[in-house]
Symmetry: D2
Subunit: 346 residues, 4 copies
């Protein structure tokens, strides 16, 4: 039994990790930390986790595997000594996602706390980066938006059927904003309302661009195509879920119909337990509480555009579930271990 610890269990990602690990047959949650709630039973902060007999501590004790659900910068600071000591970790924060520390500084407004560790980190979108994840001891869990967007676009990009002009229009539930207070997340303000945000540049954009560029065919050429990605996140009045609608122009002579696109996608994701290519547009509710990503590619034949819709639960496949999947891969377990529960529907 692997002894697992969660740093900063008091946010939604941390609590969701604890929920998922409860059912994990090979891992046992033995430590949970969180500054503000240190000393309290976990059940006092999260009544739904009352089955755990755990007290939140200021610092994690001795564990075999660590998840960090700290905010960025604080996460790298807390993880650096663990990484150096060889403890395997999955970082749910953004700290090890961008490979370029200057880009990190630009988007996160501060110097990276441990740039020397960046080269050790694997980007933890297991389906697209399996070998690196399996052999790494420091995995950067993807952002919730990149998770859904990259799974939607990867087959089209890797198979060379779309050009570099891409638009990603994402719709997220409010839990994506975390458990912190802001008037925008007050029920009376967020309910019965949809809004766009981050139009001047959301921090998940460079992550998406970095990963798309890395998978671009011919990216080693002297002049790789300049990716032009517009990403617009929206807040919708629901708790969980992200739906991403992705648009790209088809390259000539590739795919001619939605059915062809789905065939290509099915082939691409063959054998993947957590990605399913579906035959009709999916709804976020179909994956709520589960680690599934449903992908629906189609072709707007009037305009020769590829349109791909993906849905995930932002707290599971977009955070804690993906993190457990990464842990499984790192530990040599079947990736589905502890993650097989169907979605909670309706």
């Amino acid at each position: 039994m692997v002894r697992v610890g969660i740093i900063n269990v008091t946010g939604y990602a941390g609590a969701e990790l604890a929920r998922l690990l409860y059912a994990h047959p090979e891992a046992q949650l033995t430590g949970v930390s969180g500054r503000s709630a240190a000393g309290k039973p976990l059940a006092d902060v999260f009544p739904h986790l009352a089955s755990y007999d755990l007290t939140i501590t200021e610092e994690l004790g001795d564990v075999d595997f660590v998840f960090s659900a700290l905010p960025h910068a604080a996460s790298a600071e807390a993880l650096a000594p663990l990484v150096r000591a060889g403890v395997p970790v999955v970082d749910i924060s953004a700290d090890f996602r961008l490979r370029d520390p200057q880009e990190y500084a630009q988007w996160y407004g501060q110097e990276h706390p441990a740039p020397e560790l960046l080269s050790r980190a694997a980007y933890g979108l297991t389906e697209l980066n399996r070998e690196a994840v399996q052999s790494s001891r420091l995995v950067a869990n993807p952002g919730c938006y990149p998770e859904g967007a990259l799974l939607a676009l990867a087959p089209a990009v890797k198979e060379g059927i779309v050009g570099p002009e891409l638009i990603i229009d994402s719709k997220s539930g409010v839990s994506g904003a975390g458990r912190s207070m802001d008037l925008a997340y007050h029920f009376a303000e967020a309910n019965e309302s949809v809004s766009a945000y981050g139009l001047d540049g959301h921090r998940h954009l460079p992550e998406i661009v970095q990963e798309l560029a890395a998978m671009w065919p011919g990216k080693e050429a002297q002049e790789p195509p300049r990716l032009r990605v517009t990403f617009t996140p929206h807040l919708v009045p629901m708790t969980r879920g992200i739906l991403s609608t992705c648009y790209g122009s088809m390259l000539q002579g590739t795919v001619r119909s939605g059915e062809e696109a789905r065939e290509l996608y099915r082939e691409f994701y063959k054998g993947e337990p957590f990605v399913r290519v579906v035959e009709s547009p999916p709804a976020t509710k179909q994956v709520s509480g589960s680690n599934m990503c449903l992908v629906y590619p189609t072709v707007d034949t009037r305009t020769e555009r590829l349109v791909v819709v993906s849905v995930i639960d932002n707290l599971v496949k977009g955070a804690a579930g993906q993190a457990v999947q990464n842990m499984n891969a790192m530990l040599g377990l079947p990736e589905t271990t502890g993650l097989e529960s169907p979605a909670v529907y309706p």
Copy 2:
């Protein structure tokens, strides 16, 4: 491995049974029936159940254990031959809940289809009727409202601390109305709205009264107290959950404070894995997706009234989870088998 079948899997209770059974280590769902969807893969009707490789059939094949999620009357008709053949069954419909066929006829508007089987049925609120459930092969799963209300009131009634004047004010999510269409459940009508219904008498009232009367102290006396129960269900704009607020006058010299009431309740439910007495008023979200019932008794010392609030997920503890718990009890398994997942929060 027990081979399990669900009759009428196409409603919410049926689908929720399938969801819960997916994680059950001792039971395997091998057959699902449903007239209107016969011939379709289960995954076509419920995409969240795509992990099952099952096709919906018109009639169940050979199984070891049967759940019926049919509407009332149809359920008794379908189950009668199975019961006679000795197949253990849990009926989620109302057909075997009321012991008096005349009361059934009065509230359900038709003769009972199999009155001779009523005496074989155990009322499946396991916590309050464990031995009968364990030894029965025909268990009537409680209605969703009675489930929450009876767990809230049983300790007070059995310990003799409240009189026979009781008011139960319940607030239910919309999934309680089932998957059938009615303008009242149209999102645009149900959202941002609360309403009361069933004020002329809801079918769950006789079930509540029957069970409360059966547990009343001194019920064998010549003149048992005449129970006077008012039950008002309300529809609230959420998908899952029932919160019941129960009011009763305290009998003199019994409990004097909320703390005393909670102490008595804790003692009553000691060792029960699915009922937890909590120290502050619970929220339905704390049990969403799980088989837990949280109970918060307190005393309005100004009026000497006991007020008890309980919360359940109407589709789990109020239907499918309670049914699996009953199956476990009937099969001699630990009652928690397959039901240990924490609630999905937030």
Copy 3:
């Protein structure tokens, strides 16, 4: 044209007053104050009020009529000099609702800032206290819960058909909690959840008891009946609306059926433009955005209990609309002036 000012326009009640006054043909909003937002255009704080060309100031300037939407205590302090100067005011806070300053101190945890003004205040539930409101220059606008509960119970109490044992079970939308932040009102926590609160005594309870006692038949008798009111508020996942379900035992030989109860209620509220007795249980959505209160009394003939359901929009009839109705009454205008818009449905 009456020049109207709103003190503390930055909360929901203040903003709703501004919304309603926009359509008022006899009053013009000419001043709005609010400490934290002083100096900002009203449209910056509330984009839906962009039609107003008003800047929020620290202090109100010269106006003919004042609404205060300040928190309690601060409100009395701000209004005292205005009241002494003879400016007519409606106070939306709780400061002038309770006639007994000791009760105020007990429930609000501080001495009343201006106890000498309490005798000048009229309780502003216009339908039940019209003459006092019309002749007063200081009107205490009712709390949102008392508004709906008192309109539901007044006919039964005044006509002597119920006894003194009363239970009020209320379900409120989240805007009732105001525009301040608290984790309980975070969308991800409040959505898909119902909870009870205030079980140890909500501040609206003494207000309800005071007003019910004042209307009790034979209240001048030496030993008036001791009212025993239990009031339980609940938070439901919607923005606006309160539904109150009220229970009382019928006195013998009074009303025998729901139809008789409704006839009595119709007679009681005859000619009232903002209270309608309805023939089936109402939904809060039917009054959303409007100043209407729908009341549905019925009789649970099994238990001889009167059950009355009322619905209001907590921000209109439960706050700003009732306040404008009071202003109209104080100014000698038809009470419906500016308040005739139908509800926004769906």
Copy 4:
């Protein structure tokens, strides 16, 4: 006082028309028709309209102005004799929006019932087509999606700052689907879920393309640019509101920043009472219940794309409010007559 009639008042658009007309000082609703509900008081079908003393009839009686809220095809059939008789009408259905009867046949699956009237119809997006509306007696009210999308794109298209490659990603509340039942609109299915639909071509697409083409600069040239518009509607869990996010590539040397774009838009919509260019991304709640459209254009300088976000209430500016605005224009009244109420917020 203009006597106004509504054909098919029983859907959401019809009811919303009745709500808005209640406050109209120059028009009086004197007739409402609706086959299925004929004979019932309007208040029985819509309790929020109880202030009207109107009975629903099978056929409209004598009125001066007619709104039709019938489904397509039925609407043209009902309106044709009225149009021929010279009665001024606004058609909320799609029947007179597409100028080409063959396109109508292709998208609506049947021959146009009155193609000879198409040339008489004005497309009723008043802000963009004011003179035609003012001088017409047959106005085709825009579809809800085209309304928001065209107001978002018109300045950019007319001023020649974007190319012909356009993507419109729209998010609509559930009331847009009308008051008919479908499992997709069941609260339990629609709540806590977002989905895309109409990916194979939504009926509002040809309407959008037709109107964009008509405003294209140089459209009279021999080879006008071939517009390539992808339109993806989404269903989000709220009752009212549409947010459209529109993407287009900037033409070189035009606008270089969001601020420049907003300046151009402000100039374009100068003096329009119902379109406001805002300085930060708007939320649908800011216009709920009102006839306002808020537009926020910005530039993604990384990709040289124009991104425009617009919000409307689909039942007001997207249907009934736009219809009343058209009536006002047709009757020579100020367009704001009866439409000045601020949004209902929160």
